[in-house]
């Protein structure tokens, strides 16, 4: 289900966030919206989920304008877990969405969803407010995975997560993409997202400054700096080698692949 912004305008009071924004987010991909704080990233997600209405224009998901009827197709992760979690046990927290959407097999869905984010079932009895921030984050993610939405909208999914949990999420996102899901996320964690995203929207002052595949956008030093961001270290290294020494070693996702290129070219 493609997500489209059709001449969307939105303001918070007198503060104009978007002015006739038009863009398409393809289905079946993992897309990231990046930009500095205050650029409008989270607002874009809120508009997709219909949490806030457009002043003008509209957002569509597939053939439908965003409204309550498509809510079950969208799983939304809030930027702050404390805004999302409100039940007295992890079990009840995850159960809530399933009951709202009248899903079947509630118990097995709950147990499967916590395993997907790397928890043991023993977490289900715990009070979410007594969990660490990172653990709350994973509970919030599990609660939206449980009702199996077609589109996952994730606002800063890795905030508070350690490496183990982040790697678990990478695997999860890749599996969800294989299953045909669309994932749209906002993240400050550039060094994390470059490992698995397909497409990037770099936004500044409420407009798409640059979009493209991850290497085209994330390696663009000028564009990233203009938008208040830093190029991922592994891509910055390749840029530096080219800019300083005229040697093109290519862009890699993993250090081990980068090492092979460096070894080959540095030995010349």
């Amino acid at each position: 289900m493609e997500v489209k912004f059709n001449d969307v305008s939105f303001s918070y009071g007198k503060n104009v966030i978007f002015d006739k924004l038009t863009c398409s987010i393809s289905s079946g991909l993992i897309s990231a919206i990046i930009g500095s704080s205050g650029s409008g990233k989270s607002t874009m997600l809120d508009l997709i989920d219909g949490l806030i209405p457009c002043s003008n224009g509209y957002v569509s998901v597939g053939n439908y304008k965003v409204n309550d009827s498509i809510r079950k197709s969208i799983g939304y992760l809030f930027q702050f877990s404390d805004d999302q979690i409100f039940n007295s046990s992890v079990y009840k927290e995850i159960e809530f969405g399933l009951k709202c959407f009248k899903c079947d097999n509630i118990d097995s869905r709950i147990r499967d969803s916590v395993k997907l984010v790397g928890f043991e079932e023993s977490i289900l009895a715990m009070n979410p407010y007594k969990l660490s921030n990172g653990e709350k984050r994973k509970v919030a993610i599990a609660s939206i995975l449980a009702y199996d939405p077609d589109i996952l909208i994730l606002d800063e999914p890795t905030v508070g997560l350690d490496n183990i949990s982040k790697n678990c999420l990478i695997k999860l996102f890749k599996d969800l993409k294989k299953a045909g899901k669309t994932i749209i996320l906002v993240s400050h964690d550039i060094n994390f997202i470059h490992k698995f995203v397909d497409y990037i929207y770099l936004i500044k002052d409420g407009r798409i400054y640059l979009e493209g595949n991850k290497y085209d956008v994330l390696s663009n030093e000028e564009a990233m700096s203009e938008c208040g961001l830093v190029v991922p270290s592994i891509l910055h290294f390749s840029n530096l080698v080219y800019n300083k020494k005229g040697v093109k070693i290519g862009y890699r996702d993993e250090i081990n692949d980068l090492i092979k290129d460096v070894y080959r070219y540095a030995k010349w």
Binding site: K130, L161, D162, S165, G228, L240
Partner: protein
Amino acid sequence: MDNMIVINKLSFKYDYRVIFNNLCLSIKKGKFTTILGNNGCGKSTLVRLLTGLEDSNGSISIDGVILNNSSLSSIRRKIGVVFENPDNTLISETVMEDLAFPLENLNCSRDYIYSKINEISKYLGIDHLLNRCPRDLSGGEKQLVGLGCALITGPELIILDEAFSMVDSMSKLNMLKLLRRIKKDYNVTILNISHDIEESIYGDDIIVINDGKVVIHDSKKNVYREEKLLNKLGFELPFMVSLSNKLSYYDLLDKVVYDMEDMVDLLWK
């Protein structure tokens, strides 16, 4: 060197969940120490214990004074904290009012308050934000204001509790470099509590906590040598350290190089 923090046989649990089990650690004065740990290991709980927001078994001393009910007030004056979510700590209508708040609580004079606001806001590069509403600021700007609120009372210890998790990459880099300067210029002990090992590059020492205990405590140089142990605990080496180590394996480097430009110059001499 004197210790700023000494924790001795600290045990703590939430209901039936054990967080710390006879935890012992010490933080040296004047150092920039990074405490690393995975989710649920007790990082934020440690901050709450150090600031007296929670009671525990065992002892905690700050700058040689045992933390208890009678010393709590004087100890808290020595500590500034920057929390993860600045929206929970910035409460005023302007940045100036938020910076003034800690000093007003200490009954400082108006003149003193204004001179400190002037000094700290210029030092941190946020003087242009003084009349802005904190809620309208970017994440990075909010955390700089939070750091200003922590620094303005002249603490001896600044604790950062996952303070960079909601901050963009450029702001994070600037803040970490700023903390290094603050350590020197204001003679402050810095304690950065995080799950991100990359932040430790800017510090001096590293402590890794796992299963309620200290697993590693050493200079960052020595900790980075323990790659297998770090991997076992779920940490990868910081990018430049990992790159240096792997390049050394291929005889392309013979030391850890932290600066990327220096590394490129060395590789393509």
